[in-house]
Symmetry: D2
């Protein structure tokens, strides 16, 4: 770590920093510029104690030279991780398409969608049972009833199932019904939930928070790996920016490219939430694949104009079928 | 609600919308412009069914005319709500200062801070027991041990205590030790946690999420009130913007002014997190009070340069004392 | 236009709005909801006079039903516009690659780059003569000397040339040397410059401002078209968001997809500025093409580690050659 | 400067950096950590040549230790600068209020406003002659006619006048009529304009760009000072963030506090643009003063509901009078 002293820091302030760096187990190396001095903490020691010097007199900043994440990094694990969801592998070279309704609304809605998306080539079924909604007056999901319908849809189609978990208390029951657990964007830094999922034995789909940096997103995944669960798929779903009139979020495809480079974990893109508008979901799906995504997650509904949530970004069956046709050969298919 | 049809929407598409609006229990009024048609849903009906029309053919947008929040609004409750924390009233006209360390680190650190902030005029003690940290390798808080130290600090000083709760499972034990429960910025839309707190009988300090709009923040509070807990204090702690080099967050004081106008709930400002830098915390505290804040929450540490978290934004005792002196007469004081 | 009255607006306030709407030449249609009233201005009248009602007593908002841009829209001009730069057509189906150094630094640097990018398949040469730099102490460009070098590079390679114009006063001299004039991101809303370019007879490359909405960007283009110049190419170069550590800007590829849908103007993407990092420029180039871009603009330098500006996002010749090979068959090539 | 090498950088890459640092006139000091090496450039040399190493093989980043701005800094000029506009001093301890209409619309509108704001205590008159408008179809200002009306208003009231300049070509004529020239937010980085203003002998009001960092804003001012004009007043007018529904911009009052600390230049706040809503302009004016602003700039119109621009954020005479009464004793007044 580097402790950058302020311009005009006194010798006493510098001495104090050097002493603290040594007390933390490091060697201290000084670099004296014309304006400022830098104290480098070399070797290995107690990082926290040096970071705390940010608040010491005469210190401008403490800069880490090493990256804060470890287990998610390719430095530790150079080969691609393959995450197995039921009989489907994410990250193994084939493009995986996860599809289904935003919310499970009824038996008929779910089963018809499951069959339609399977027929079109999707290999994992999505569907919300517990819904995080901005307003308490909006539809909150069917809960356990939805979980049972998801189990039924899997039995019918053979598609493994992913659904969102909102609370540590729900992990157990959801694990009984789902093949993969989704951490929603608003819960990306719900660390109690991450810790509970780290202890489960199910793969996790970790959505990026709407205002999470790439580094924070990787560190959220690090909570899962450090806790013992390495079956993690990253999901870019758009970030919140000033452009929120024409698109609901800004889909950050450079984040997809960067995660593939920095980390061994698979990445999927969610153009449904990432754009919020049906008309550009197919073209943005192709762009996401070009950016390196291992998969896509797409909202599909038999009648988007009757959906209880996310209708404007849901495709109907015909639209989804057309999207799948446009994705080309790399797509893993449940059709065959 | 208004259903704005696209330019060039067909008569059939318009007819479908009118039919659905009526089926949802509303009357439908048409306005035909030179370019576009608007279908107004008048009266009262099932709002969700009209909102779903966003996804119908020929529809550009569905716009709500009424506000989505109810119970937090002055329309429903015109008088200021006063929240009582131990023997302290927030929102009753006196400025309330909440102060203490970011994290409880040791008995000595907490008790000395509690005494110092009380002496300087603070009336509520803050201190983190369970810490939401970006990295799993950072200090995560002392947990239950910290809760007991907080109880001890209260016994010693008479100051009521506020501390953060991160999970529904922890609500019960924290309620045994704390007088007020804080929802951290990253958990503002942790709806499972909000529901659990709605059922507790403790006042809640609800921090604004780093990328939450004012409307979303009010709706998070609406979860608490709709669930039965009206003892809610809103806390503006800065939003995440492109300016993150000179200040950690952007303290949005217009949000303080607006919440005071829209809602009856008390508002406090957190210039410690809101700016991330010690040198401007006193001046921004005064600005927050001028913007209408009912209180302030300030991080104080006996030795900021040894703090395990948030050192650069923590004041030492002398700095805090000076800040308090600069706040003027309106401050409620525990000194007397 | 719709004038949304506030809840509780008085009859007198509503009457005043109706009167003003009529005085502006429109018919007024009223919709009375349970909470609020909406006054619709129907027909054609003086838009400004109705917009001014935003400030009238009892008015909550005035919402335009029609889009604010006209000439750039496909509604007015459904077919794709093809912009001709020297002998190169942008928007005609072939992918056009514009390449060259950020700044023209020397004769040798420019000519060697021009030859290298031509050999690799680029068809337009870029190079900055007048540089907008954040600090007055940074390299400001060679000015007129650079313009002459660009002319020489064109003579040598046959590649048409695009360069940035920063001031209305420079339009004339730049037109003598360049085939296309670039409006930089920071000047997107420099309306004096847009007006001067509208009167020139040269094609314009209009970069999106770092905090410009898609609507504002289209309206900047509207200034050019309304002023008489329809040879406009839109350039997405990334927007400024909270994520500015891992990437310099956030490349908004949904904006590329949307502009193609809304407007007839060609769109190119600038992954060099859009990401700020060399390592993901090739993959993001492919993603931009998948999103519908008609072309790419790429910074290339013989020795990026000696560049006077933008080195970290500049490709050397070998990297650029590899990028071109990865773009596939649709690329227009100057090789043949 | 510090050249941070990547983890795994080769000895050859490090040697190359050391050689280049020395060739640029610096001494090179190496710090070898467990993971990474840092090469410090010590002494004084050619900064650009070291910065270019960002693009060299094995280099992760180049970090400046010294601040990029000089002349605007208190390090160079510790005392407050006082800017004189006509007979008014900004930065001398008294609070200065600049007021007037967004646009000059007519003789009667301007003169009545000038008299009203003077009577209420404003000491400088504002009024737009050349208006930067998002759409080419919006009112663009009365131009030269407005300048003459501003001169007439000054003659009538004695108030000095500030108006916006949009182009280097207009500097001369505006200097004939105005006492201070405003650089609008969208032109903050219009460097041609800044250079032209640096050569004029008039004070400049430099608005912060909607997505400009504090550092970029200071560097824009540095263009003026480095070019010879030190009569510069900084104006915080809100930044563009995701919160753009409830407020037009986010007024960043921490920026006011920071500029006062870093720089000797006076700062004024613009709560009219900074919030976009009349109802909170008075309270945010008081907050800005508490944050350390030397002045305020407020839009006032005789009939906001008939204004050709910015009506919703304009105060009428009675509202402005009330705002002035609420500002307290420090206000400089033209009343006496």
């Amino acid at each position: 770590m580097l402790v950058n002293m302020r311009e005009g820091a006194t010798q006493q302030e510098i001495d104090y920093v050097v002493e603290r760096v040594c007390a933390a187990g490091y060697q201290a190396h000084l670099t004296c510029g014309t304006e400022k001095t830098v104290v480098a903490a070399v070797g290995s020691g107690r990082r926290n104690e040096v970071e705390a010097l940010r608040a010491a007199a005469g210190v401008e900043d403490v800069v880490a030279i090493s990256t804060p994440y470890k287990l998610v990094s390719r430095k530790v694990h150079p080969e691609d991780t393959i995450v197995t969801v039921g009989n489907v592998q994410i990250g193994g070279g084939k493009l995986v398409v996860v599809a289904g309704p935003c919310s499970v609304e009824s038996r008929e809605q779910l089963l018809s969608t499951a069959e339609a998306v399977k027929k079109a080539g999707a290999t994992i079924l999505r569907g919300g049972a517990y819904k995080p909604r901005t307003s308490p007056y909006e539809f909150q999901g069917l809960g356990e009833e939805a979980l049972e319908l998801l189990s039924e849809a899997r039995a019918l189609t053979g598609l493994p199932v992913v659904t969102e978990v909102m609370s540590p208390q729900d992990v157990e029951i959801i694990c009984e019904h789902a093949d993969m657990l989704q951490v929603g964007a608003r819960n990306m830094q719900n660390f109690s939930l991450l810790r509970a999922l780290a202890e489960s034995n199910k793969p996790v789909l970790l959505k990026r928070g709407p205002s999470a940096t790439i580094k924070e997103w990787l560190l959220a995944a690090e909570y899962l790996l450090a806790g013992g669960n390495s079956q993690v798929v990253m999901c870019e779903r758009g970030i919140r920016t000033f452009e929120n009139e024409m698109t609901r979020n800004t889909l950050d495809l450079a984040a997809v490219a960067l995660i593939k480079q920095i980390s061994h974990l698979p990445v999927v893109a969610d153009p449904s939430h990432g754009t919020g508008r049906r008309d550009i979901i197919p073209v943005m799906s192709r762009a996401a694949v070009a950016a390196g995504a291992d998969g896509l997650i797409i909202e599909v509904h038999p009648h988007p104009e009757r959906a209880l949530s996310d209708g404007p970004q849901s495709l109907d069956f015909a639209m989804f079928d057309k999207l799948m046709s446009g994705l080309g050969d790399r797509t893993m298919s449940a059709k065959a």
